[in-house]
């Protein structure tokens, strides 16, 4: 069958850079899905995008849908044939519905009954007739942020300016917001012309002549090459931040890198300030020397050719100069003040209407940090550092620099704290207490940083829960989930043996001291534990623990996270071993039967009636004592495993639910006591064994 290429290009006013790549991929996969659904074969697909266009070129698209041959089942033979042997109305109606005639009927038996069958043949439609449906794909693309324009109802990423839709040399006809499809596209805004696409396959080449590099990978490669050329020419090192490169790539249709300089004196500003000014605000690449020291130069990528590069450089230099002069002013202003000045200012900043000021938050962080460091058994000296770090952890939020560059929170705090002569671990904690900042971020390295980070995050989570700011679905404005994940990560990595429940209770205690919210402490704890369990579950999933084992270790209280993780690891390690199934079953059986115990009483050894009961009791006492003494989860598991045989023997010879009440209760007491030590490890009932 013959084939043609297909091209679809949506021309737009400049899209936000952050949405370009995703939107392109989305368009591509929707077009592929469409062709597959329509059973239209194709040979390949290429995606293109610039700030002003999303395009897809599909190579070798079949002229028509595949033909379909299928068997259709009709009425039963006895209904299809009338007494005189002629076809009934039902049979005729059926064939008509299938687009065949009674001549085509044959019978086939299904479960002993004969039914009418026909083979029907559906001729594939010409592709060109199906393609106007591409309109739905264009209209239904999802973008992060949509807008309306002029008189249109359509919400779209930016106004649609033109649409090229070609199937070979034919225009695929449709219309969106008064824009009618055509073969006419636009070149670079300033360097190019409006042109006619002669054939889909010529798209890329034709636009290149109009100064539009439609292939984003090629554009990116051009930028990289230009950066390397500058590096070679000037003996610079230009570290390429991939995120920045991606953004810059989606801000230009025809990239030309150029460099500019700034006054050396500005190099006295902290490097982070310089880099933020260049990267975040201006999308410049900072420049370093071979030793990694920042140089007073920058590289920007212009959307155009090399004409008047000196003018462009001069303009950019002027902008950066003004920004750095501002930063320099803020830096000096901040330096002229003491940390206490900023701490006082925190009193005037409301963190949240129902939760109080930042100053109140800091006071809670301090109290909580003190309690947490006590729980970990830190020395007095360390506790003092923690206290100071907690006290000043938020001071930089009211410095002018952080007001102007919010992304430098913590970083400026550490810098200023050092300059003001704070202990180096204290200064570092001011920055570290924000860690982990995101899912892949490090946790604080110093003890001080880790404790203050925990205290800050816990205070945020607990206070928010206290005033009913609880994440639901996609709504999590205070990023409580991320912060809870941070708490879990720190507790797991730092290996302190404090239980999560204790940590939460401590935090609730502090929040309650300040009368935040009106919830009862117990209700709050319950909500928080289930919220945290989900985070812990997530961590265990990331550790690739099998889901039933996760349920098993999370059935009871969370306890200390390192030991929880260790238990999960041990179960993972043993789950395939011989005897694991039997151990699990034996332990589960105890747990199940123990549920029948209504009251828990003392075990009376006098009432044991057989040897197995006595043995199990002895073994129970040994394991119970052992569990308190051993250190690792592996050892704990071995101890529990050793109960398998006595339990099996016990059940072979003992009826727990004995007739006589006193005997029954005594046995249940034994079961209950065993169940407690088993569940302290995991709920084996949740484990799936084959």
């Amino acid at each position: 069958m013959s084939k043609r290429d297909m091209l679809l290009e949506i021309g737009l006013e400049e899209m936000p850079a952050r949405f370009v790549t995703d939107s392109m991929n989305q368009l591509g996969s929707k077009v592929e899905e469409f062709l597959q659904e329509q059973k239209v074969s194709y040979e390949g697909i290429t995606l293109y995008s610039t700030p002003r266009r999303l395009a897809v070129l599909v190579q070798g698209v079949a002229e028509a849908q595949e033909d379909i041959e299928e068997e259709a089942k009709g009425p039963a033979k006895k209904i299809a044939l009338q007494e005189d042997g002629s076809w009934s109305k039902a049979a005729i109606g059926f064939t008509r519905g299938q687009g065949v005639t009674v001549e085509d009927i044959y019978f086939k038996e299904i479960n002993g009954v004969e039914y009418v069958h026909v083979n029907k043949f559906i001729k594939g439609q010409p592709t060109i007739d199906l393609l106007p449906k591409l309109r739905d794909i264009v209209v239904n693309l999802h973008f992060g942020k949509n807008m309306r324009w002029a008189n249109n109802d359509l919400r779209y990423i930016r106004p649609i300016k033109w649409i090229v839709a070609l199937f070979g040399s034919d225009v695929i006809p449709f219309e969106i917001t008064n824009v009618v499809t055509d073969r006419i596209t636009k070149g670079h805004r300033f360097l190019g012309d409006t042109i006619t696409i002669t054939a889909p396959a010529e798209y890329e080449v034709q636009l290149k002549k109009q100064f539009v590099i439609v292939d984003p990978a090629e554009r990116k490669a051009m930028i990289r090459r230009q950066l390397s050329e500058l590096e070679a020419e000037k003996s610079w090192v230009i570290p390429v931040d991939e995120e920045l490169l991606e953004e810059v790539n989606n801000l230009v249709e025809y990239p030309t890198a150029l460099s500019g300089s700034f006054n050396k004196e500005f190099l006295e500003l902290p490097e982070e300030v310089l880099i933020t000014s260049m990267k975040e605000h201006q999308r410049y690449f900072p420049v370093k020397d071979k030793e990694g020291t920042l140089l007073p130069y920058f590289v920007t990528v212009r959307n155009g050719d090399s004409r008047s590069l000196d003018v462009v450089a001069r303009g950019n230099e002027k902008v950066l100069r003004a920004r750095l002069a501002d930063a320099d002013f803020f830096y000096k202003e901040d330096q002229s003040k003491e940390i206490d000045f900023f701490l006082n200012k925190l009193q005037t900043i409301v963190y949240h209407e129902k939760i109080g000021t930042l100053s109140e938050k800091v006071s809670r962080i301090r109290r909580l940090a003190a309690k947490l460091s006590e729980l970990t058994g830190a020395s007095k000296e360390v506790q003092q550092k923690v206290d100071r770090a907690a006290e000043i952890c938020k001071f930089d939020l009211v410095t002018q620099m952080v007001y102007e560059f919010p992304e430098l929170q913590g970083i400026m705090g550490e810098k200023y704290a050092q300059q003001k002569g704070e202990d180096s671990e204290v200064a570092r904690a001011v920055n570290e207490h924000y860690e982990p900042r995101h899912a892949d971020d490090e946790t604080p390295e110093t003890f001080t940083g880790a404790i203050v980070s925990l205290a800050d995050k816990l205070d945020t989570i607990v206070s928010c829960f206290a005033v009913d700011i609880i994440p639901t679905g996609s709504q999590d404005p205070y990023a409580l989930r991320r912060q809870a994940a941070g708490v879990v990560l720190i507790l797991a990595e730092k290996k302190w043996s404090i239980s999560l429940e204790t940590v939460l209770q401590t935090a609730i205690g502090v929040v309650k001291e300040d009368n935040v919210g009106e919830k009862e402490a117990e209700a709050l704890l319950e909500e928080l534990v289930s919220f945290f369990k989900l985070r812990v579950k997530h961590s265990l999933q990331e550790r690739e623990i099998r889901y039933d084992l996760i349920d098993a270790v999370l059935a009871g209280p969370v306890g200390s996270l390192p030991s929880l993780f260790a238990k999960a690891d041990v179960l993972m390690a043993h789950k395939e071993e011989e005897g694991f199934k039997e151990t699990t079953e034996a332990l589960s059986r105890v747990v199940n039967i123990a549920k029948k115990a209504e009251v828990i009483g003392e075990i009376d050894e006098q009432r044991f009636e057989n040897e197995e009961e006595k043995v199990l009791h002895r073994e129970f006492l040994r394991v119970q004592k052992g569990l308190k003494e051993v250190e690792t989860a592996e050892q704990q598991f071995t101890l529990l495993e050793s109960l398998k045989q006595p339990i099996e023997q016990y059940f072979d010879h003992t009826m727990v639910m004995a007739e006589e009440t006193a005997v029954r209760e005594n046995r249940l007491n034994q079961m209950k006591a065993l169940s407690v030590i088993i569940l302290s490890f995991a709920d084996f009932n949740k484990i799936l064994v084959k």
């Binding site: 942020k145 805004r189 303009g315 902008v319 002069a325 005037t348 409301v350």
Partner: protein, 296 residues
């Protein structure tokens, strides 16, 4: 090109594209958007194409005339076109050419910028336009004004006059800009800059300003009750300016701040609604005059 020539050029350009040339509105305001020529007229189906220079007061940016880049009062050249024309970006780029900025010799980019004015219940999507890395214009498609959905959508183009001039005239200090031959910004604006800064940060009376806010707010409500949109809106503008002075002084705590913004937003929403209703009662006369039948 001096500032006066710039303004004349822009006026000529947008007048040629069918804009009514208006004069600045005579009540203090923080931005050209707050002028009733934008805020009210962006509402409803009636077409509206207008351009004007708006002196905009930003008390918090007052620097006693000492900062080379910041001003208590700067000037915006504001263009509103409703419905947004299809070729609005080209019209805008032509205005830069008219100002002597040849795009081929520069790097001009449309960088995403979503705009919001919470005190007026306004939101829009668009760009900041960069000229060689400098933001010279805010380009916004209004989506919501006074809490009402815009239909049709207006486009707002706001040039920062001093910003643009400092580029065109290659001046480092805003006060060195030539307004017209023989007169600099310093000659004309230095003294008011200094005095307004001193007033804002030192001599203004917070208690009196709080009182004024309450009085203006009350009057805005009273006029609303009378169905008088424009007088009511003037008092909202006054509230807004008084609030800005108080805010610049640091006299408003963060919680109070939210509450004050909420009060102004409520007034603005009410006014927007009433304005729309009043125009509707009149049968949206500007629609009819132009003979446009597309109103739904």
């Amino acid at each position: 090109m001096n500032i006066q020539e710039m303004i004349l050029t822009l006026q000529k350009h947008w007048s040629d594209h069918g804009c009514i040339l208006m004069q600045a509105y005579d009540v203090e305001k923080g931005a050209g958007t707050m002028s009733p020529y934008t805020f009210l007229r962006a509402l409803g189906p009636e077409p509206w194409n207008v351009a004007y220079v708006e002196p905009s007061r930003r008390p918090a940016d007052g620097r006693y005339g000492e900062n080379p880049n910041r001003l208590y009062q700067h000037h915006q050249f504001q263009v509103i076109m409703k419905p947004s024309p299809d070729n609005i970006q080209e019209m805008y780029l032509d205005s830069l050419r008219a100002l002597g900025i040849e795009p081929l010799d520069h790097d001009i980019r449309f960088v995403e910028d979503n705009w919001e004015n919470p005190s007026l219940g306004c939101a829009g999507l668009g760009w900041e336009v960069w000229l060689d890395g400098m933001e010279i214009t805010q380009f916004t498609y209004f989506q919501q004004v006074g809490g009402l959905e815009c239909k049709p959508v207006s486009v707002e183009i706001t040039y920062g006059i001093e910003r643009l001039a400092s580029y065109i005239q290659e001046k480092e200090n805003v006060f060195d800009l030539e307004w017209t031959e023989g007169f600099t910004v310093r000659d004309i604006f230095y003294q008011p800059e200094f005095e307004h800064s001193k007033y804002t940060f030192e001599t203004s009376d917070a208690d009196m300003l709080f009182n004024l806010f309450a009085i203006y707010e009350k009057e805005a409500k009273r006029q609303m009750d009378e169905g008088l949109v424009h007088p009511a809106y003037d008092y909202v503008l006054k509230c807004s300016h008084v609030f800005n002075v108080l805010d610049a002084k640091g006299a408003i705590s963060v919680t109070e701040r939210t509450a004050y913004l909420g009060r102004m937003r409520n007034l603005a929403r009410q006014i927007a609604k009433t304005f729309y209703a009043e125009r509707e009662k009149l049968g949206f006369p500007m629609l009819k005059e132009k003979g446009e039948a597309e109103h739904e």
